[in-house]
């Protein structure tokens, strides 16, 4: 059975994933829009940076974040100056790390959806008196709906599944940074296979159901297609 400590980690995991997904949508949408529309020379560089977490070992990303968010790191000095202290081993640090780790899963489906829409519907909207912002909400959002749903689902599930980055940046602090993936690791370390089974099962079923919805109900292309 799931212990109350296990339930706490589940709750914390969903909290991290929800907040991270919300933040990724807020920052990822304009970024994806810019990437889909721009001819700037920066496009290639930004695309590469956004895609880095796809190929880097999570420990590498986690290591750099740990150093940068630490007391002598760039981010750490900034947050200290703001009076927030340093971020490693805090809930906020965990969210920041999650956002950076999962951002390609949000930006890439959105960018693909925006690119597919093309400029024609935007021009039609402009000739029908819609301002650019108006056009975004009345034309782009409805046309890119599958892209938005894919971005939300993949961003959320990917954050739920993270382990390496969490371990590097967040550690293993109960109720603060101890998420499900870490808790499973703890159970296995302690030879508590039955507890590990329960938690792992919950994650497996959850992830499968979500992806099933994504690929059957929403008829989305597999992520490997979207990431191209």
């Amino acid at each position: 059975m799931l212990t109350s400590a296990d339930l706490d980690t589940l709750l914390l995991t969903f909290k991290v994933a929800s907040i991270s997904t919300a933040l990724m949508m807020v920052f990822g949408t304009p970024l994806a829009w810019w990437l889909a529309r721009t001819d700037s020379a920066w496009k290639g560089i930004i695309n590469a940076v956004v895609a880095l977490p796809l190929v880097l070992p999570p420990t590498v990303l986690g290591f750099y974040l740990l150093v940068m968010m630490g007391p002598v790191g760039v981010i750490g000095e900034f947050t200290t100056w703001l009076g927030l202290g340093t971020l490693p081993f805090t809930f906020a640090g965990l969210v920041v790390a999650s956002v950076l780790y999962s951002i390609p899963f949000v930006v890439q489906p959105l960018q693909a959806a925006f690119t597919t829409i093309g400029k024609l519907p935007l021009e039609a909207a402009a000739t029908l008196r819609a301002s650019p912002l108006d056009t975004f909400f009345s034309v782009v959002v409805p046309l890119a709906k599958p892209g938005f749903l894919t971005a939300i689902i993949l961003g959320f599930t990917h954050t739920v599944g993270e382990f390496g980055v969490v371990l590097m940046v967040g550690g293993n602090i109960p109720d603060k940074t101890r998420v499900v993936s870490v808790q499973i690791y703890n159970h296995v370390e302690a030879m508590e296979y039955s507890e590990a089974h329960w938690l792992a099962g919950v994650l497996l079923v959850f992830s499968f159901v979500v992806l099933l919805v994504l690929y059957t109900v929403l008829k989305t292309q597999p992520v490997t297609h979207q990431l191209k």
Binding site: A124, A130, D134, L143
Partner: protein, 359 residues
């Protein structure tokens, strides 16, 4: 208000330059004609503000939309225009009604004075309102796009080859609607096309473009018959005359029509006496005689004056004539022109072998 459209644009791309200075009448249909790459679509997009020509001045019947001299560039959504794209470009997530409402919701109430029902009936789409664009034929989609643009009661209607993506049958389905629209609605139209058929059928004024420049601009029949313009030398070159139905000769299955300077016989037309029509006379169907032919099977023989002669390739000579107040073109062989010694100012007779009705 000045009924005038002033269009000055200069645009410099590495592979393409646009340099246009035009004064156009602020009413009627002005067709921008040219081959692909001539800059006609770019010009239309600059007028719509979809493309920003760094140097430009644009005034539509007293409304200033761009004046780069004082740094003025009104964004597209603030211009009172209707735009019909080459592909209908309807919003796929909205029904026909939703597409029509999209613009209507965004114009001030005071300008929402268009009788939309009338437009829908005129275009024959009032039964399609609940359909999504992907359940419409290409012709239906394009007619919805035209209605969507007209519903805004715009100061000007811009149409970018609206029939180019349609097959012949669909074109024939929409062209009559377009000519009727132009007769019934008093909105100036700028219409881009590379089809001479559409020029003949729709244009009141004609602007001919090549390599990003305008090479001729003026009233249709005058511009069509300008010998310095390639159109007059085309094998399909034709004159277009406005005429009025005068009488029907039912026994002969003929209709007599009057033009400014005489009468023509046409195959019987189902149109009431007094109906205005537009007829097309191909230059290759016009022959010239020095004296009035007395015994000929050709019905349409008219006195005319030669106003221009140019030799063309292939042993052909293009002759421009004046019949009454109308200009007429004739393609004859260079040999005939030399043997009969045609000169500018000569009084001659034209024999017209065929006249076709455009609307």
């Amino acid at each position: 208000m000045t009924q005038l459209i002033t269009v000055n644009f200069r645009l410099n791309y590495a592979e393409f330059q646009l340099d246009v200075n035009l004064q156009l009448p602020g009413s009627g249909v002005t067709v921008l004609f040219g081959h692909s790459g001539s800059g006609k679509t770019t010009l239309l997009r600059c007028i719509a503000g979809l493309q920003h020509a760094p140097q430009g001045f644009l005034e539509i019947n007293g409304n200033l939309w761009q004046d780069s001299g004082q740094g003025l560039f009104l964004p597209t959504h603030k211009r009172s225009l209707g735009y019909v794209f080459q592909e209908a470009n309807l919003f796929p997530h909205l029904t026909v009604a939703g597409n029509l409402r999209f613009g209507l919701k965004r114009i001030p109430k005071s300008s929402n004075t268009v009788d939309l029902q009338h437009i829908l009936e005129l275009l024959g789409i009032d039964h399609l309102l609940k359909r999504k664009p992907d359940c419409l034929s290409g012709g239906e989609r394009q007619r919805v796009a035209i209605a969507r643009a007209l519903a805004l009661n715009p100061e000007i209607l811009l149409m970018d080859e609206p029939l180019a993506s349609l097959d012949f049958k669909r074109k024939q389905e929409i062209l009559p609607f377009l000519s009727r629209l132009n007769q019934e609605l008093n909105i100036p139209v700028l219409y881009v096309t590379h089809s001479q058929q559409e020029v003949a059928q729709l244009a009141d004024n004609l602007v001919i473009m090549a390599d990003g420049k305008t090479i001729a601009s003026g009233p249709l029949s005058e511009t069509l018959s300008r010998l310095d313009v390639p159109l007059a030398h085309d094998r399909e070159a034709a004159s277009v005359w406005p005429v009025t139905v005068v009488e029907h000769e039912a026994d002969y299955e003929l209709t007599r029509v009057a033009f400014a300077g005489g009468m023509l016989s046409l195959p019987l037309v189902a149109a009431a006496i007094g109906t205005p029509l537009r007829v097309q006379i191909y230059a290759r169907d016009v022959s010239i005689a020095l004296e009035a032919p007395t015994a000929t099977s050709i019905l349409n023989v008219l006195p005319a004056t030669i106003t221009g002669i140019t030799d063309d390739q292939g042993g052909l000579t293009v002759v421009r004539l004046q019949v009454g107040t109308q200009a007429l073109m004739s393609h004859i062989t260079r040999k005939s022109a030399l043997l009969l010694n045609f000169q500018i100012g000569m009084a001659v007779y034209v024999q017209i072998k065929g006249v076709s009705i455009l609307n």
